[in-house]
Symmetry: C2
Subunit: 500 residues, 2 copies
């Protein structure tokens, strides 16, 4: 090293064939690392002619994993740089990003400016911050709180550092802040709105802590991962889409923040608000309906909390020039019968088919939401939206629209229902007073949802129903015995049903 | 998997030959991971007959890195399980540790009980928490604050989850909370105290954000990493030791917490207090002198902050039954001439040799501290300690004791001074009013300290000195050209000297 200049630091790529699920890792041989005085965990910049990426470096102790003069790249780095085994990359030292100073300031309670938030968001987007540093940002924002000004700033910064897609004319959108298993209204609302002739390009997330996200559920019926061009073509042809937002690079900082929120299931309000609104702003939505389910396991536990969230969403909407309407709904118990991707998709299709056995609460809620959206467009008179939505659903136009969307996105073969099933029965006779969202979600996840698409629960009874001792409350479906046993064991002590 | 039971999950070990610097990583083939429904980043338990370790799993995309039926282990995991390539390990699922609930509670501002803190500390000690989870604990403790009760509880929990070493009779100790470059008093105080016939087994840390820790500096003269048995033998023969605490497993949770504090240089007061006191309690010290340097770059910026820290240390000492004395010293500028491991070791030896060119401020401060410690034993009259310490130093007994300690720990060949040197000169004539600790530390680190032991700064001028334009303020020493250039460039704009 003594005689070498930094421009000499070229290394031949070795494909390590290891994926971390997101962290950018490279390996240097111990001798090279020593020459450059790099330690395990140090941050280096890896570049080819087109692009560069900040990576964390680990060390190969001998010549076995990575010999001298070579650099081992994990899959994420290879993908990002679009290079292969044998290519040449250059490495460079990189100090800590400046945005760490702003994160530190936030930990000390300082108010961050838009510029500072943009700086942090840009570094997150470009993987310049480690998990530890991102966690400090989330924890500081959570415990110190974000002011309205900061929340709007963070939203803008997230939009600014991501892709933006504009659709022509009026663009509608809906969002639910979650917490209620089976609450798959989106997949009913979207076809109704599109069938009414409006544009509603819906990007959804996959489940993080729940048994199914809209993207996981839709994926049982159609492809949800596609290029921007393809999405535009689907929307042009059908007026709608239901795709996974993650791959579209809309406000990508948001997804990277959520990754570090997940381990502790932190509900950082400011980040939740910015997250939702940034995604909507990135697709240039003009009219947005937000569903806030209220209940003890949701993000709005009390009317006061719900009212506060409503006010905040409206405030950000106003500041960003979007027409935002917020509806507070009953989030006290699961909606629908199926819990888990496939089982929820079946519920949705039953509602769209006007099947008399379809879950009526899901149907009613979807009609209400679609009605409000229709009224927001100004094309329907106040109080007439729900009626129009119902008509579209009952006429079969919504089902036809759904089939069209599925066809345009690319039909998928439905996964099969988990072959290991287990019925959970009531221990007593009475009326069902409560069904616990968290226990139902936990059981469905133990059974394998959302990654095992055919796993989950089918609820035979819900709040208000009467039940006899020995009657089936719900059935657990799992794709393998191990997970079936896990859920079964858990259900012995936790059914989640309060019967009075 | 469907027909297999969990007891069937045996894998043959592949040595991946990669070190992460602390994170426990294992790799499974994609097919095995799919069978077990494991995703990148999932936590699994890896076991052999003797021991088990919680690991983070990454995925091998093909058969190249890790074929089916095998498990790739990173160096840290191999070391911890004491196994090699070809051995068989068992894996098991592990849910999230329960202590995450307590961390979450702390984020929401809850007071944690000793039992809850012990739970967290135990999971940290046994690597059951990820960096993200640990970071939430640090951030929550920092922003929400720890009560006195919690700080004492955390201290006790750290001691409880680590090794304890007991030395016979009266055991003295000293500690400085840092922030002042060159402030290497420990290496003068310890030989004085031991020469006076007392037991003072000193465990020190390596530098984290500073250009040298006591362990880094001592390592220029003697071995600092050794077994507990060896340490006991050194202390028995000499009355003292100066070793690296890190390898001794005293309050190991503390070191693991510091790792995640480092990236943002967080000074979480509660954790600082618990950290210091847990190390002292682990070696069963009875009389402890704590040096709190006060200055704008230290942990006590104002007299109020210093007073508060002093009170806190005394409170914990009382609660844990230790005699703690706290002295607030001048931390406004660097002490000594050398900054960096070798250069600081030279200063220490010059003081011990009574060399007239030795830094007088370092000498005086060490005598003061040693004097207080002597008085704390009750064997010296109040006001007579410093005099006795000075006598021991001037008699050459302290030097002799130091040589004895070096010999017993194992003499090291001194590293050589960095061969790339660069003098930084004054731009004006005048009197030096301030020398900035942070800039001096930053320059020494840029030059390579502490990992390059012969790198750092030699200060020719300090606060109060007169200087002529063009005179050398300090010389930068580096072991390689790259780092020499880095420090040189930085010094063009930041000398850290205020000349009036």
């Amino acid at each position: 090293m003594k005689s070498k200049k930094s421009t000499d630091m070229h290394f031949k790529v070795k494909d390590m064939d290891i994926a971390t699920g997101g962290i950018m890792i490279v390996i240097l041989n111990k001798k090279d690392a020593n020459k450059l005085d790099l330690k395990s965990g140090d941050r280096i910049l890896v570049k080819n002619s087109q692009t560069e990426v900040t990576c964390i470096m680990d060390i190969s102790e001998s010549n076995k994993a990575v010999p001298e003069g070579r650099i081992g790249l994990f899959e994420e780095v290879l993908d990002k740089l679009k290079i292969k085994e044998g290519h040449i990359v250059q490495i460079n030292f990189t100090g800590k990003p400046e945005s760490i100073k702003h994160i530190r300031d936030k930990l000390y309670g300082k108010h961050l400016s838009y510029k500072e938030l943009l700086h942090i968001t840009d570094d997150i987007t470009n993987d310049r911050l480690t998990d530890i540093e991102k966690t400090y940002f989330v924890a500081a924002s959570f415990t110190q709180g974000l002011s309205n000004e900061e929340i709007v700033g963070l939203t803008r910064a997230m939009v600014q550092t991501g892709k933006k897609i504009k659709f022509p004319g009026l663009t509608l959108d809906k969002h639910c802040i979650g917490g209620v298993p089976g609450n798959r209204t989106t997949m009913v609302v979207i076809p109704i709105i599109a069938a009414a002739g409006f544009t509603i390009p819906k990007t959804s997330s996959r489940a993080i802590t729940s048994p199914a996200g809209t993207a996981d559920t839709m994926e049982c019926l159609a492809k949800v991962e596609m290029s921007e061009r393809k999405i535009k073509s689907v929307v042009k042809k059908t007026g709608a889409c239901m795709v996974h937002g993650g791959s579209m690079n809309l406000a990508p900082a948001d997804d990277k923040i959520i990754e570090v929120e997940h381990p502790l299931s932190i509900d950082a309000e400011g980040q939740l608000l910015a997250s939702v609104m940034a995604k909507k702003s990135s697709v240039n939505a003009n009219h947005i309906l937000i569903d806030i389910p209220m209940g003890k396991s949701t993000k709005a536990r009390t009317p006061k909390e719900a009212k506060h969230l409503k006010k905040m969403f409206e405030m950000i909407g106003k500041r960003l020039g979007m027409n935002v309407k917020v509806i507070v709904t009953d989030g006290s118990h699961p909606i629908g019968k199926g819990i888990g991707p496939l089982l929820e998709a079946e519920d949705v299709m039953a509602v769209l088919r006007n099947d008399p056995l379809a879950p009526q609460e899901l149907r009613k809620k979807a009609i209400t939401l679609a009605g409000i959206l229709l009224e927001m467009t100004g094309k329907y008179r106040k109080g007439k939206g729900a009626e129009a939505a119902k008509e579209i659903l009952e006429s079969g136009k919504a089902l036809k629209k759904m089939q069209q969307i599925i066809k345009e996105q690319g039909k998928q073969n439905k996964p099969s229902l988990g072959e290991f099933s287990y019925p959970v029965r009531s221990g007593k006779t009475g009326k069902i007073k409560e069904v616990d969202n968290e226990i139902i979600a936990k059981l469905a996840r133990l059974a394998g949802a959302p990654s095992d698409k055919g796993s989950g629960l089918y609820l035979c009874k819900n709040v208000g129903d009467s039940v006899k001792k020995g009657e089936i409350l719900f059935t657990i479906y799992a794709e393998n015995n191990f997970k079936s046993e896990l859920a079964k064991k858990f259900s012995k002590f936790n059914k989640g049903y309060l019967i009075g």
